[in-house]
Amino acid sequence: MLVLMARNLWRHPLRNGLTLAGIAVAMGVMVCIVSFGDGYRQALRGELDRAGVQMMLVPLGCPYDAAVRVLKNQTLENSLPASALVAVRRDPAVAVAAPLLMAALPRQNDRRTDLWVGLDDTALQLKPWWQVRAGQAWFNHAHDVILGSDAAALEMRVPGDKLYSPEIKQEFRVASVLNRSGTSDDSVFFVSLATAQQMFAQSNRLTAIAVRLKDPTLQREAATRLQRIPGAQVVTMTEMMGTFLNLLGAVRTLVLAVASIAMMVSALTVLNTLLAAVLERANEFAMMRAIGASRAQVFGLLLGESMALTCCGGVAGAGLALVAGSPIEALAKDWVPLTPGGSLLSISPSTVLPCFLLILGVGALAAVYPAWRAARLPPALVTKLG
């Protein structure tokens, strides 16, 4: 039976090859979408976990835009008064409140931007990845700078070296270089909060306050209290993650709809291929019936051919997803908000298997009508068709 199936499929290599390609593309798209969704969720959760904060106090404006900018070490147009930090630290639910002042200094001639972040030592409690690779653990002097690993590599600095900022005309001494963290901190120049406030003429101003609570279950009450601080608004990481996942969910639904259409088209292609085969091989099926094959056997033959076709297409589609996954991921990263670092494509057996079963189901469904037609061919037809 298997040999018969294989021989029948081999009879029209072009037609069956095109059908197989259609199935492979549909399978590949489906695997990529499912894997991207899973990968994004895991990566976003990891990024927010690594951020070590439960909420963030940002200046008035779009809170999510502000929170994303802070997480990505980008500057905000507004700032918070330093008095907000006192109020936050006074809140009984707050375990750690870390003030941050960020500034991006564009270097027009060099087509680059230097990212400067001012922080105090409380920030270390919220940055578990903060590991000094070389040099002293913290700022000893006002002109000390700690470099992220990429920033140090780009400027070829080691502890003790000088570093000059032409834009603000200030010279620093490299106090230490951090280990690579895989976060946006890798390309940052860190200075003490007071130095940053003086550098950027932002005396008593802050870009954001990152907050960790003593008990995460107190989040709602704490957020309500902190929301009352003038000029500030609270964004919880849970809200932020929910918002981004909702946004991603909407995009994913849309793309899944497109993938479903691709899946339907591939099902119709299988149906068309098998129907053509039934019409071409009517005589053969009638002959099979005449020499004793049951209807179930004829039905099974067509169903088997369809399953073999979709099975090969599914395997090829999985391979296609592995090969084309990275370029698709690179494209998708451009649309998605707050793209976490690292790979977002999580292709694993748990993502491939459901897609594979789905494509097999589609293949089986598409085979039902042609197989039914083949099974219904009367044995007497063989005398008519000769």
Partner: protein, 217 residues
């Protein structure tokens, strides 16, 4: 039966193709890094503004093509000649071949050197014979008194015509500069010198790989 066997082989091959590069991207972790005092390896220096640099160095050029030369086979000789390890700009070496109406009129190399206050990125135009045609500073973060010296036309012009055999020493074959700018200026001179040395090795390798290439240029 043979057909069935062939189909089975095809399916197995497809399955193997899909399984070999199986990735678990979500569980990928950064490898632990050794705690050393060595400087982080500097990333490859990009050529930030090819069009204006090309016009500044080779005004008659019509275009350029990028050629890559892997120098791994001559690493030990190059290390001896440079007196240091090779960096990421040097192996593989990216050579921008400058062309005028299809003819090679020179080459451009880009590198980053460690100056006193930060990295300095140098774009060097090199004549087909291996001598310096011109030098540009594409990025630097030195204080004004130093920047004025190293970016000055006079200092950059002092490199023109020098080959890999020149000593590239300030106050010797290069003009003396104010003491404050000396370390950074010498770094740039060493950087340009290194580029010429590395290119000379690359040219030999490329010529050996394709003897007709030299003639074509």
């Amino acid at each position: 039966m043979r057909l069935g066997f062939r189909l089975l082989v095809l399916v197995l091959a497809l399955a193997a193709f899909a399984a070999i590069p199986w990735r678990k991207a979500s569980h990928r972790e950064l490898p632990p890094r050794a705690h050393t005092w060595a400087a982080e390896v500097s990333p490859v220096c990009p050529w930030r503004e090819p069009k204006p640099d090309l016009l500044a160095l080779f005004p008659t050029a019509t275009n350029y093509v990028t050629e890559t030369c892997v120098l791994s086979s001559v690493t030990s000789e190059l290390r001896k000649r440079l007196g240091r390890q090779m960096n990421s700009d040097e192996n593989p070496l990216r050579i921008y071949r400058v062309r005028k109406e299809g003819q090679c009129v020179g080459s451009i190399l880009v590198t980053r050197v460690k100056a006193e206050h930060g990295g300095v990125e140098i774009v060097t135009g090199i004549e087909p014979g291996g001598a310096v045609h011109g030098v540009l500073i594409q990025s630097q973060r030195e204080p004004e008194p130093i920047a004025e010296v190293i970016a000055s036309a006079a200092f950059r012009a002092a490199f023109v015509g020098k080959g890999a055999a020149a000593p590239f020493r300030l106050g010797d074959d290069l003009p003396e500069v104010p003491a404050v700018a000396r370390p950074s200026a010498q770094s740039i001179a060493d950087g340009v010198h290194s580029q010429l040395i590395v290119l000379s090795f690359a040219e030999v390798l490329l010529a050996n790989a394709d003897p007709g290439l030299q003639h074509a240029r």
